[in-house]
């Protein structure tokens, strides 16, 4: 099974990539990323391909050809751990008072 992942340099994306690498059913992992993905480099897993992609509003024919055969995607881009963290810190902070 060929899967697509975005947000791979983030917290949720790292967890998803780790899970995908551990699955025997996964035959190919295409990561769309603006910058290199250290975890993917270190893993040295032949199933992983990092496709450097800058404009996430555009998916041209060439890119879609590279993604051909993919049957699913985890979209973890811009999950905003920042905002979520700010939120729960505020929440937890309040609950402590």
């Amino acid at each position: 099974m060929h899967l697509i992942l975005t947000g791979a340099t983030g917290l949720v994306g790292s967890a998803v990539l780790n899970a995908m690498m551990g699955m025997e059913d996964v035959s190919q992992i295409s990561i769309l990323s603006r910058r290199p993905v250290k975890m993917a480099e270190d893993a040295n897993d032949p199933r992983i391909r990092v496709i450097l992609h800058q404009d996430f509003t555009e998916y041209n024919a060439d890119l879609l050809t590279q993604l051909r055969g993919a049957s699913g995607c985890v979209w973890a881009l811009g999950t905003g751990q920042n905002t979520v963290t700010r939120e729960w810190v505020a929440y937890a902070g309040l609950s402590c008072i």
Binding site: L11, V12, A19, V26, C73, V74, A76, V84, Y91, A92
Partner: protein, 178 residues
């Protein structure tokens, strides 16, 4: 005025990154679905995302909700695109050693906050936590379609049309965390 302008810019940038990118990708990936088959698109939203924002709804909660609505519309228009969303809570990586070297909190303050408040938070709101290891597994399995039958057939899930909203509680229950 300057501050208002900056906030507007930040809002627009947040919308672009969150909603525009996800919708464009979902529409493009629909074309990857094989003849007679489907493509699973799993949008990582967040606990607190709401479809009915009020005056005090935080930006991310409103925009994530808007993105969910937009993706539900894409799913409706493109039946081969099986888009769904998961709303994790506080993503907790403390027990997930293998990803630790790659989790780089941008600010020292944040790191300190997580170290100090993490244990309190985990004790006070266990149901709001999303341990990163089972979360990663669950999201990957969603993309593989492994939960499709359970979720599309299940009545306990929030839905916009066929688009399912998997809450953090749902994720924890399905992953055997509670």
């Amino acid at each position: 005025m300057y501050l208002i302008g900056l906030t507007d810019w930040e809002d627009r940038e947040y919308v672009r990154i969150t909603t525009t990118y996800a919708v464009a990708a979902a529409q493009a990936f629909e074309t990857l679905a094989p003849e007679g088959g489907s493509f699973q698109f799993v949008f990582v939203s967040g606990e607190g995302a709401t479809l009915e924002p009020g005056m005090f709804t935080p930006l991310y909660a409103r925009i994530k909700g808007e993105t969910e609505l937009a993706l539900a519309a894409v799913r409706k228009a493109s039946p081969r695109l099986h888009a769904n969303t998961v709303r994790p809570g506080f993503v907790d990586w403390v027990e997930h050693d293998v990803i630790k070297p790659y989790v780089s909190p941008r600010a020292f303050v944040k790191q300190t906050a997580i170290t100090l408040i993490g244990p309190i938070y985990r004790a006070a709101f266990p149901g709001s936590c999303s341990p990163s290891q089972p979360l990663g597994k669950f999201l990957a399995e969603m993309a593989m379609g492994k939960w499709e039958e359970e979720i599309s057939g299940g009545s306990g899930f929030g839905k916009i049309g066929e688009f399912a909203i998997v809450t953090n509680h749902d994720f924890r229950r399905l992953s055997g965390l509670e």
